[in-house]
């Protein structure tokens, strides 16, 4: 062999050595120096996490009747990242789920979820379809059958404003800090009523499966699995049978009142809505709470349709979503209990103070005549008679007296209104509670800041407020709370809807806030004077006597107050507030009908019917 070739062989051996050293160095770098990093990346790239939804807690009424339960169903979900563009898969899905191809395509392509997240195409899929899909899963990459829980409402639309409904979590909520990494796209959360308030109690704890997948995302082995924990069950203070009676009474009465014509006109009462609250005065438990018009929470199961949603938000349907029991309305005469107590407490009147009513009162000056609802006048009345007859002029004078004391520096009427809970939330455990409004000078300054002449608090403002008019507003629930304060001699409970919460093993959950109360240190004598007046309301000559004529008030004494509030540009708002039996109060019933005229004739019958049910009177 020539030396030339030998040199070339030598070069060859060196090159061979260099190339192999390079390969080994490269392997050293990858496997020894970066091995852990690669191992981490590798395990990340093949492991997937999937959450298992937890059954949402059930909701029972106070007697353990099941109102709302979670029903496990199968749902077909897809991963948009895999399915979009796979026409074949979407066609198969369209066929077996009986949804149009374009609807599926739209849902898949317009979904905002991240690459590996999923979108539910159809819930409550029947078992034959589930089996078909599972058997053909190889032909359906990106499709999976998952377990979801749907709400089932055993009592239809009963108590829907209390229960609320559940729906898919919104994108904003998903991104907000509240999310605390719990929710994922497509999750159902409580969106109203108790479902919303007690979301964290009801939702339970999701389970988790960590598993490995092959490149087609098919699971090959489970690494670890934690079972979901069912949500806690809510036991309400609501008595569903009573709720049913209340809702039916409300609905029937509204239909009846709509038939009536306003006195001396051809116009019918519109009665655009109404609310009833039945409260237990001894503990603040809400036994029934109805609002009309109402809606069927069943509409939200499996996602609400656009038409249904639009109907629920159509003003022509009078806003069925609005829970009127916790919305603010002008209270009218039912507010007079506050004026009464304030007057007695501040010494503006005593039990024996009498005022004369001639149908018109010029206390604010000749240019500002104020009239009574009874044009002919009530004559001479004491406080009990004034309450019984709901004499406006009596209360004008109490209000005027309160205004004049300390030159209204202390805004006494407002002070007592606030003591009775007006102007702030009661703290009831459903969202969307209105505060009502207790107007004062400060409010006027803010509200009328563009009309300087109106920023002063006039004596007339207090006078108007003394009969529950002016800018004063209150919610039916606030009113029920105020009457329960009278009934309970100054004990103010937080009205609430939850009796107890039990976890999935039926163990009582620690839940203390239900028992919150506050002793307002009211003067018992004054309260009894007011109660005496309220009791007379259903006695002969009282504003609600017509309705309670046949009611055995001898056995079951009822304390009540009627109200007919003027509302600018609308028909009168009718109120009826009451409790019974006087002396040992068990129930506070407050009713309100929008644009329904007189509370004494149009709302009192609802309460009367409910009392009949509650006390088993035919």
């Amino acid at each position: 062999m020539s030396s030339n070739i030998r040199i070339r062989f030598k070069i060859l051996f060196y090159l061979l050595a260099i190339m192999f050293v390079v390969l080994i160095l490269r392997l050293y770098f990858m496997q020894v120096m970066s091995g852990e990093l690669y191992a981490e990346m590798a395990s990340e790239s093949i492991t997937r996490e999937r959450t298992i939804s937890a059954p949402r807690g059930n909701i029972y009424d106070r007697n353990g009747k099941l109102l709302v339960k979670s029903v496990p169903v199968k749902a077909v979900a897809v991963q948009p990242g895999i399915v979009s563009g796979n026409e074949n898969v979407m066609r198969i899905l369209s066929e077996c789920l009986d949804i149009s191809y374009y609807e599926i395509k739209k849902e898949v392509e317009e979904s905002n979820v991240s690459y590996m997240d999923k979108v539910i195409i159809k819930q409550d899929v029947d078992i034959a379809t589930v089996i078909y899909i599972e058997e053909n899963i190889d032909r359906l990459p990106g499709v999976e059958v998952i377990d979801v829980y749907l709400r089932q409402y055993n009592y239809g639309s009963l108590a829907s404003h209390i229960l609320g409904y559940i729906g898919e979590i919104s994108e904003e909520k998903l991104k907000s800090e509240e999310n605390d990494y719990y929710y994922e796209g497509g999750d159902q959360i409580g969106l109203g009523g108790l479902e919303e308030t007690y979301e964290s109690m009801l939702r339970g704890k999701k389970g988790k499966v960590v598993y490995e997948v092959d490149p087609l995302e098919r699971p090959v082995s489970i690494i670890r699995e934690t079972e979901p924990i069912s949500g806690n069950d809510l036991y309400l203070t609501i008595d569903i049978d009573l709720q049913k009676v209340v809702e039916e009474a409300l609905y029937q009465s509204i239909l009846e009142v709509r038939e009536k014509k306003i006195k001396d006109t051809d116009e019918h009462y519109k009665v655009t809505g109404g609310a009833i609250v039945v409260l237990s005065p001894g503990d603040g438990q809400i036994l029934a709470m109805a609002s009309y018009p109402t809606y069927d929470p069943e509409l939200f199961v499996g996602g609400i349709s656009e038409d249904d949603w639009n109907n629920l938000n159509d003003p022509d349907n009078y806003y069925p979503f609005l829970n009127r029991a916790i919305s603010s309305f002008p209270p009218g005469s039912v507010f007079k209990i506050v004026t009464s107590y304030a007057g007695l407490s501040e010494g503006v009147i005593t039990e024996g103070s009498r005022f004369s009513c001639a149908g018109i009162w010029y206390g604010l000056g000749q240019n500002f005549p104020k009239s009574c609802w009874l044009k002919s006048g009530h004559g001479s009345l004491d406080i009990v008679g004034a309450i019984k007859n709901s004499c406006d002029i009596y209360f004008y004078q109490v209000g005027y007296g309160l205004f004049n004391k300390f030159n209204n520096n202390q805004e006494l009427l407002q002070k007592y209104a606030r003591i009775f809970g007006f102007g702030s939330e009661t703290g009831v455990d459903v969202p969307g509670e209105g505060t009502g409004l207790v107007p004062d000078e400060e409010w006027k300054k803010e509200y009328f800041k563009d009309q300087k002449e109106n920023t002063v608090w006039f004596p007339g403002d207090t006078v108007n407020m003394s009969i529950g008019q002016g800018d004063l507003t209150a919610t039916p629930l606030q009113m029920a709370q105020a009457f329960s304060i009278i009934a309970d001699r100054g004990i103010k409970y937080r009205p609430h809807l939850i009796k107890e919460i039990r976890d999935s093993e039926d163990i009582l959950f620690k839940y203390s806030s239900a028992e919150e109360y506050q002793d307002l240190q009211l003067n018992k004598d004054f309260v009894e004077i007011i109660e005496r007046g309220l009791t007379r309301v259903v006695s002969p000559g009282g504003t609600a006597y017509g309705v309670f004529m046949d009611f055995p008030v001898g056995e079951i004494p009822v304390a009540a107050k009627t109200g007919t509030a003027e509302f600018y540009g609308k028909q009168d708002y009718a109120w009826f507030t009451s409790y019974a039996p006087v002396g040992n109060p068990e129930y506070v019933i407050v009713g309100m009908l929008e644009q329904a005229g007189s509370g004494g004739s149009n709302v009192a019958p609802i309460a009367e019917r409910i009392y009949r049910y509650l006390f088993n009177i035919d």
Partner: protein, 399 residues
């Protein structure tokens, strides 16, 4: 075993020894047997769970590979009994056979991954471009070696032109399939042979220049497709090709090998490869399985064994004073070397992704059998080098 200390002096130790009872390079022999048996085991590990190609028997690929291994070993040993000098005279027959089989594949072949590289003989499929690598080496060795009428071995211009024509014929046939990776191996092997034959470096450099020009032209004229370009670009910018094609293959292969770490995940326990994350993990990406399951130790061991095999090829080639034997042995070494470096380099991300098998290890009969045939030829050279020497000495004495 006969060893030769001084390659320039006549080996008197071997002189007159003729056919000795033990005349075998056991290092090469055992290394080849070990690595190809190990290959069958690794293929079993790679295919027992993933069942590529829709087979249902977890041992399907193992069984096939063992059959090929048996056939290959038979050839490996059998070729030992034929004097390689008989081959030298008939190099042109191998040219005809090679070109004919490559032509046949263009007519009767079927496509896999866009290349028409396979002939289906019903009971077995053959990839002629694998065997033709050996054939081309035989032809080029025959042309570049000492011709009968020459007094001394000299690589003339004529020989260079002729060998180039032969080599380009093979390359062209493979390009028509088209199988660019294999064509590249042919070119590299040819240039290396030309270099080791002692040809004037000017020839070597100008032919390399021509080829570079040819590749440049082919690219500009649009003969090179985008996906082939991607396979090279992916090395420079892997993050630009995250999910599909070459980038995906490379990413998964690197994950598999890297995650093997120092000790590896254990035989049969490679997750990335056993879950089919690495495409072609039983064929072109078999090294990913080795890297993942046997770790740095196993991978380096495999590289060393392959390195020893290549070294033995070159060493045995360099032992021979017969220029044909030298070129034949070196040629086999070049085939193994180029494929090992490109294939392993590709799995670890330092070489472009071209579809060539890892010698002795990748699943597939044609590659394994032709590699064993090549190794058999090298053993053959080792055996017959002594009698050739005898012949040479006799010739010298006769002169």
């Amino acid at each position: 075993m006969i060893r030769r200390k001084n390659k320039d002096s006549f080996d008197l130790e071997g002189y007159g020894g003729g056919k000795k009872a033990v005349n075998y390079d056991f290092i090469l022999f055992f290394m080849v047997l070990a690595i190809s048996s190990f290959g069958a085991l690794i293929i079993y590990s790679a295919t027992r769970g993933t069942l590529p190609g829709g087979v249902t028997d977890p041992r399907y690929y193992l069984k096939k590979q063992l059959i090929y291994l048996a056939a290959g070993i038979a050839l490996f040993v059998g070729v030992h009994f034929i004097d390689y000098r008989k081959i030298e005279r008939f190099w042109w027959l191998f040219f005809i056979a090679g070109i004919a089989s490559l032509g046949a594949v263009l007519i009767f072949g079927y496509e896999v991954h866009g290349s028409k590289s396979w002939i289906d003989l019903k009971f077995v499929t053959i990839q002629p471009s694998e065997f033709s690598k050996i054939f081309m080496v035989i032809c080029v060795a025959g042309i570049l070696s000492k011709w009968k009428r020459e007094k001394e071995h000299h690589v003339t211009f004529k020989k260079v032109v002729l060998s180039l024509a032969v080599a380009l014929s093979f390359v062209l046939m493979v390009l028509l399939q088209p199988d660019y990776g294999t064509a590249l191996i042919y070119l590299i092997v040819y240039i290396c042979l030309l270099f080791i034959s002692g040809a004037n470096l000017l020839y070597v450099i100008s032919i390399m220049g021509m080829m570079a020009g040819g590749i440049f032209f082919a690219f500009n004229a649009g003969y090179i497709k985008q996906y082939q370009l991607d396979r090279i670009l992916v090395l420079l910018k892997p993050e630009a090709y995250p999910d599909e094609g070459a980038g995906y293959n490379l990413f998964q292969s690197k994950l598999a090998i890297g995650s093997g770490g120092l000790p590896g995940k254990g035989l049969f326990l490679g997750k990335q490869t056993n879950l089919s994350y690495v495409p072609e993990h039983h064929t072109d990406f078999i090294f990913s399985v080795i890297g993942e399951e046997l770790g740095f130790f196993g991978a380096v061991l495999v590289i060393i064994v392959l390195g020893v095999i290549i070294w033995r090829c070159f060493y045995i080639a360099s032992l021979s004073s017969d220029s044909f034997a030298m070129l034949l042995g070196a040629g086999v070494g070049f085939i193994i070397l180029s494929q090992v470096v490109i294939n392993i380099g590709m799995t670890v991300g330092i070489m472009p992704i071209v579809g060539i098998p890892l010698p002795f290890l990748s699943s597939g009969g044609s590659s394994l059998i032709s590699m064993l045939l090549g190794a058999g030829l090298v053993e053959n050279i080792y055996r017959w080098r002594e009698s050739r020497k005898e012949h040479e000495i006799a010739y010298q004495q006769f002169k």
